[in-house]
Amino acid sequence: MLRTTLAGLVAHRLRLLLTSLAITLGVGFIAGTFVLTDTIEQGFRQLFTADAGKVAVAVTPKDEDIPEQVLAKLRTLPGVAGAQGLVRGTAPLLDKSGRAAGSTATSGISVVAGPLDRTNYVSGHAPAGPGEAVLDENTARTRQFEVGDTVTVLDLAEKRRQFSLVGIIDVGVDQNLAFTGAVGFDTATALEMTGEKGYHEVDLAAAAGVSPETLKKTVSEALGQTYTIRTGEELAEKLALDGNVQLDYLMLVLLLFGCVAMFVAALVIYNTFNILVAQRTREMALLRCIGATRGQVFRSILLESVVVGLISSALGLLAGLGLGALALNVMGRFDTPVPAGASLALTPRTIVSGLVVGLLVTVVAAVLPARGATRVAPIAALRSQVEEQTFRAGLARSLIAGLLLAGGLALTGVAIWGLGGDAGLLTAMGGGAVFFLGVIVVGPVLMRPLGAFAGWVPRKVFGVPGRLAVDNSRRNPKRAATTTVALTIGVTLMTLISVITASTRETVVSSLDEQFPVDFMITAQYGRQDATPLLPAEVPATLRALPEVGLVAELRQTDHGGAFVGSLPDGAAFRPEVLSGSIAALGPGTVALSENQAKDLGARVGDTVPLDTAEAGKVDLKVVALIADGSLNEAMPYTVTVADFEKYYGKIGPARVYVKAKDPAAVDASRRAVESALLAYPTAQLSSAAEVRGEFDDAFDMMFTIFAALLGLAILISLLGIANTLSLSVHERTRESALLRALGLTRPQLRGMLSIEALVLGLVGAMVGVVIGVAFGWAALQTIPNETVFVVPVGQVLLYLVLSALAGVLAAVLPARRAANASIVGSLASS
């Protein structure tokens, strides 16, 4: 029996390969995920270990920075050969146009010299003296600075200081520096520029013959519990762990997509084995005739699946290596901190999980078809004609489908109206998954009506081949359902993501319009203060003096004593949506509360609430209005008048300044005026609604592209499934095709017929996916507590339908060619 199975497999190498491809891709994705994350992790580890070699002991503060005298004390400890304090603060770099670069201030760091230097230089050398600085590679590239240029950096007093750029450095895997960019000075200059009072880390080198552990003990005894003290190795370990948290998250997300791909692959395998069994009915029956038992037939199919599973998983591992390398390359291009030059890591975990998952999925998917094979009666060997598969929805199928569909809907209902929030979102997605299982079970029943619906136009337009194709697509509803459901999964998820991104985008845009009832907004660069960055107090007055500017409204805010308080900006455009009370009543000694804050305090209009202020101590405020929380939660918990705000918190600078052009037709002119007025304040960031919207758009597009690329694999696998099903159908209908050719169907017509069949299959799969995707996209949005707009991106969804139909046609190209090129006489004779 074993030999028969293997001989059969060898005889059908091509079929084996096609079947394997689905599993290969799925395993490749999962293995690729492991390869990618393992490679990054190992790369990090190597870097940290190399760094750790230079440092014997590292001292880091638990809260306050390490002051100078502690550094001095460390230098005097026995066994310390050298000690260097590392400075990190902010030092806003100005770009070539003289504005502060980026929405977050550049980090200012110290670059140490000597044996404790861990800096990697891309070019140039370390800064020596107060006139020299280095820049990180990424900032240098985006802001177009080169070694030899002069760079301008703001000091603590916002004064422009010029440095000669002497080196470009690689900040490596430091996420923080990678985000803000870094400008490096010698230690003294770094302290001066950032205004830091101490060091965020002190590295120690050990004297000859002193082990890091000994030194660590000495330092611990000297410093006590105030600081965390690690040996170089421990430091490397900690840094690696920090990196791993993010890696684990990345791995989880990728594996989730891998699971989707594997599920689709399982459906494809299930279908393929089903068809293989149906096709080899006579072969099996012959085996039964000559004495093979049911068990032997069952085992022979399972054995076949084991061989297919093993081979394809092994190929999948290879594909995983390739995918991992590709992903590393892509991530490197997108400035993600990825250790450069790390060799690909293929760990035992990758190999074992890849093989096990691939094998398991293949074998499990083949069990049902193998059971079907045991039901073949020996007499089937003697029948000449393959029996048409008929399908009737049995009671069991109807019951299970009903339970799953109802259960999925119920779960989703509970999620929307009962839970809400994160738990609601997860439950809604769980409900979606259960509902989808129901759709898979009920699929064969849906195939006929949906096929008729999707085939309505082709039937009318393409004449006889069209009609025959639509009939053929509905001929074996079970097979067609399994084939299309694989595509449905991909389309459902794509639609879901489209609906969610489009809705969120629309929500953001509409709330931006609310937030931006003006032409420009001016904010301060992040990074200088820990709290909300504030603009210089004189900025509003400077702008009001400009003739091109109309309204200048300022929002002041502070978070004193844990309470966020804002002032109500001038101008009718800033009147928020009032739930109860009246915003016009906001006067001295009163407050407007946000919806959520009122709920937390249990306060209503007319009540009095206490507020801890900076200058006026504790005050009691009368609540005059409740303000609706917008979709972005932009309402301040407490809103008071400008005069009260100044009384409570002093004359602090505004957090935001809103500007309206005097002449709506001359927005550009007023923008130029505002820009030149702001030249004196390089860290003030000027933005318009269009720019902010553009940034959001970029972020959404990026996210959507990534999801689409990850889902692309699942869709590709489902297309393999369509191609597989069609080629096997073509094989089954060899004589039918020959008959049609004899009766006068031309080759192009026969090819067209198969293409239309695939088109109908693709369309049906996509239609179901689009409906479920939209419905559950809506459900997911309902679980989000904030007010969200529901938008169906009709164009995108239609595009999915068209693309699915075209993809079906593409999948039919090869099978259709084979059918059309077959010799009529040969096909008529074959049985």
Partner: protein, 256 residues
């Protein structure tokens, strides 16, 4: 004599004119040592409005001859004319269109599309050609084959004999120049076979149809007007107005 020649000439150009003519037809499968000469130069013509049977022992080349005559297979050398068209010079597309317009087929098995009803199967060749069925002809054909109450059935709901009658009706409906039937009764019991054969003969008599049938059954061949005999790829003999006995005798003689 003169009158007779005049008559021959006249009939040649009208009803006695051949529907299908093969000249020097040969078919070789394979190459070199493995070459099999299935047909070795056959000259034969099939008269319009006649029912001709092609017979011969197994491997004599009778099916190959039919495939070549019908344009289903290519020839190695020689020519086949169907009406005024030399089908050996046609492209696949032209050949397909010619089959669509001028040729009907009845095969031994698997004649019908399982997804279509009997009536849809009958109309299929016309619809492929984008033509309307002649309703009078349709009624007549359906009446003759006795399928009126079976028209909405699918092939799986019909007996083997009924399926073959549907196939014959389908071949007739497009009024082709010639119908090729390949062992049309090969899978049928003798009663169903007789029904199909008499129906074929009636279509020749009453509708003036031309039929060329390949068979190995002398009883089936006896329904034809003329039987041609093949052996080893050569046309060796023929019998007109055959009876089962005369065909049987000829076969025995050929196999001797």
């Amino acid at each position: 004599m003169g009158a007779s020649i005049a008559l021959t000439t006249m009939t040649m150009t009208t009803d006695v004119r051949a529907a299908v003519v093969a000249r020097g037809l040969s078919k070789i499968y394979g190459q070199g040592d493995a070459a099999v000469h299935a047909l070795r130069g056959i000259d034969v013509s099939f008269a319009t409005g006649a029912f001709t049977a092609i017979m011969g022992p197994s491997g004599s080349g009778k099916s190959t001859l039919m495939h070549c005559l019908a344009g289903l297979d290519t020839v190695s050398s020689g020519h086949v004319h169907i009406g005024d068209a030399d089908i050996t010079t046609l492209s696949d597309k032209q050949l397909t269109l010619l089959r669509r317009e001028r040729i009907g087929f009845v095969f031994q098995a698997f004649n019908l599309l399982p997804t279509l009803t009997a009536e849809q199967n009958i109309r299929l060749p016309l619809e492929i050609a984008g033509r309307q069925a002649d309703q009078v002809l349709m009624d007549r054909v359906v009446e003759t084959v006795g399928l009126r109450d079976r028209l909405s059935h699918r092939p799986s709901q019909l007996s083997g004999g009924q399926q073959q009658r549907v196939a014959v009706a389908r071949a007739l409906i497009s009024k082709p120049q010639v119908i090729f039937a390949d062992e049309p009764t090969g899978n049928l019991d003798s009663r169903s076979g007789a029904e199909v054969l008499s129906f074929l003969r009636r279509s020749v008599r009453e509708l003036g149809q031309t039929i060329v049938m390949v068979t190995h059954d002398p009883a089936a061949a006896s329904y034809a007007d003329r039987v041609v005999f093949l052996r080893d790829g050569l046309l060796v003999s023929e019998v007109t107005q055959p009876t089962p006995q005369s065909v049987h005798d000829m076969l025995l003689k050929l196999e001797a």
